[in-house]
Amino acid sequence: MKQPNSVKDMGKNPGEPLAQINQFEQIPLPPPFDKIDEEPEFAQLSDAAREKYVVLDDTIAVNIEKPTTKEEEDKLVNGFLSGLEKLMSVDDNWTFLQPFEMSMEHCAKCHTCSDACPIYEESGENELYRPVYRSEILRRIYFKYIKKASPALHGDIDLNWETVARLIELSYRCNLCRRCAQTCPIGADNALLSREIRKIASMEMGIVPKELHDDGSVLQLQVGSSTGMTPMILKDNIEFIDEDTAERTGFPVETPFDKVGADILLIHNAGEIMAWPENPGAFATVFEAAGLSWTLSSDAIGYDGINYGVWYDDVQFARVAVRHAAIAKKLGVKKIVLGECGHAHKALTVIADKVLTGDLNIPRESSMVTLRDVIRSGVLKLDKSRNDFPVTLHDPCNLVRLMGIVAPQREIIDAVVPEGRFREMAPHGVENYCCGGGSGFAIMSGHNFQDWRHRMTGRRKFRQILDAFQDESMDPSHMKYLCAPCSNCKGQIRDIIAYYDAFEKAGIYYGGLVELIVNAMVDVQPGFIDWEWH
């Protein structure tokens, strides 16, 4: 395993990776995936990519082209310093000034947070992925070059374009899950600093992974959805989903669109509509069966709850959040309900809380709560025995650790899964591990990044999933359900199950929460969950 010896290595040996993982030295997974030499081979970065882009480790997320002139080198360094200065400004960074300054000033560099980071742990404790490694570089730049403090006070670092470019790349080796912050005895938040580095890169230097910006928030603001789905395609898709769902359930549904004065504006992650149509179909079934007054919006952006700015850019974040609220206001709904998407929950409910004022300040509610209340009302007749298979629950970080929504999803599972069939992961709830797709990784797959996240960020979650089912037969004919009530988490979990072939080899299937409800509804045909790999 190659790893840096010092934070000062960040600017040394241009073109050489600072860290490399030997997949055969990683901690083996639980059975039946415990033979490390039988795991898929880690795809290597191409020579062409190494030649063209800034190299940090085994992969590339951001695609920062190596500068070819002194002017380009200076532009990187000066742009970064200018952005760092703006992070200290009330005007430019009132959004996170206090949390930023707190984490810059008070980290004791005690390494308590390291053991909480699944990436650091699964890398075999590679120094590059230690949460404090990247923030220590930022801190040293901040104190030496912005605050002009003596290096004797806060440590020394040389600043060159390589340091800046690698630091930006390194900010995309963190899931922003904030497990590290949860363990900090002082209250410093090294995950926040990853996000602040991303902000400098995006908001000052215009450097962002394409999947998050051009193909993400920009596309969403331009055409209505990061999936590229326009309002017309949306309506076609939903019409198809309604028909398909009715065919499967025998329960007719017609999703209402743009119903002025409805109680609820339901906003899905549009990825659900494209990749997991059974999820919006199940929502429509439950909402119609429960007699809720609800609607989808066909206005651009109003049908896609994603908000990628939450991972890298405060302005892009605010633009999407305000648009969501404006559409709800136009429809005159009483509340917005967020579908099964963790970051959409946190973005619109918690973070946008300090953006939306006046008549844009429309109440937002988690679908976990809405669905829990439907179950509590007793309006649905449920037969738990239809879900008579092993079930475990993945807690999306955004719902639990970052919003405190922990109990409703468990209450629902308790109502629709037979006793003894549900088992928690260890740890779970607010101490959960990220799926590995957090902070945008689930949609990032350039070069060999997908392989990297399977081996590094998603490995801990896969380990947890296997551990949760260890008391069950791992025979593929014995199907096991991994409930993941979050679209991005589902994307990552789908990819990691496919990577290890865990559906074919161990019968591990995944899906959302609302599907479990519909699968238990007496008023629909049995077998909504079809156990077919999608």
Binding site: W94, Q98, M102, G155, C184, M203, G206, V322, K354, G404
Partner: protein
């Protein structure tokens, strides 16, 4: 020479207070920020804090009065401050060094405060009250003070060794080592004074009574007097130095918890937060990336509401 000790002690205490107030004001005057809470949030009521739940789990939470439990906060904060519970849970190895260090500081600080109060009582109240109270204070001060100095030195030496170890060496600035050496030196000299010349803390108690009654009389002579002066000067300088460094985290930590980790108060429609949010949204943006489209005059609201569909 003793006069110098009195002057340095006054200056040290005054500087400490001013620096602490300045730090407190700096953190408290920072603008409202986006919500960035982290669960569990200790003040969540209704039993939610125990598993990390929040009011967002409630049906129509925006129509309900929030249950905020001060007791819940105290149940977390008091053990955290006294026993560094989070560190014990997540980093036992460091806790075995950090806990004695911090607890030693608390004892030394507590004993100093006790002696200050005792000094005021002895200096300004009649003998009938001052006598018995002074006796009680005098009886506990040597034990607690001695224990505090010993624990503080053990902890500081342990932390120093750890910072020099392989894992932390690269993350350690010269100032981090200096801070610990400063503690070891100041506490060490005080301990030598206590063990060698002032086992009942009478000299230091007299010094503090004189300090609060503005009686700058000389105390002790020979080596004892010199050591007392040296102890006072070093401790006063240390007290003045602490709030100027990252060791002021005892102030920052309050805001880290109350203004960030546990800051979950919602901005309700028509509520008290809206005016401040609107003021912040009217501030100019100077971020340079082309997609921001800022010119230094446009506000957050302007760049947010610009049509991005083209």
């Amino acid at each position: 020479m003793t006069t110098l000790a009195y002057v340095v002690a006054y200056l040290g205490l005054v500087f400490f207070l001013i620096a602490c107030v300045a730090r407190f004001m700096m953190w408290s005057r920072m603008p409202m920020h986006m919500r960035w809470e982290l669960y569990p949030v200790a003040h969540e009521g209704g039993g939610k804090a125990a598993y990390g739940g929040s009011y967002l789990e409630d049906t129509e939470w925006w129509k309900k009065k929030r249950e905020v439990s001060l007791i819940g906060e105290l149940k977390v904060m008091v053990p955290e401050i006294l026993f560094l519970v989070a560190l014990r849970e997540h980093n036992k190895k460091l806790w075995t060094r950090s806990f004695p260090f911090h607890f030693g500081l608390y004892l030394v600080g507590g004993v100093t405060a006790l002696m200050l109060v005792g000094g005021l009582i002895v200096g300004y109240l009649p003998e009938s009250i001052a006598g018995p109270v002074g006796k009680i204070i005098s009886s506990v001060v040597p034990f607690l003070g001695g224990a505090g100095l010993v624990l503080g030195i053990i902890g500081a030496v342990g932390l120093f060794m750890r910072r020099r170890g392989r894992e932390l060496r690269d993350y350690t600035a010269p100032a981090d080592l200096f801070n610990l050496i400063f503690f070891i030196a100041a506490f060490g000299v005080a301990l030598v004074t206590f063990v060698g010349f002032d086992r009942d803390f009478s000299m230091v108690e007299t010094f503090i009574v004189n300090l609060v009654t503005f009686n700058l009389a000389p105390i002790g002579d020979g080596t004892a007097g010199i050591l007392l002066i040296l102890s006072v000067v070093l401790l006063a300088l240390l007290v003045a130095y602490i709030p100027t460094t990252h060791m002021s985290h005892f102030i920052g930590k309050y805001f880290a918890y109350h203004s960030i980790r546990w800051s979950d108060e919602p901005n309700l429609a028509g509520g008290k937060q809206e005016a401040e949010i609107q003021e912040l949204l009217s501030r100019p943006v100077t971020w340079s990336a082309p997609h921001i489209n800022a010119d230094g005059k446009k506000s957050w609201l302007d760049v947010t509401l610009e049509d991005q569909s083209k």
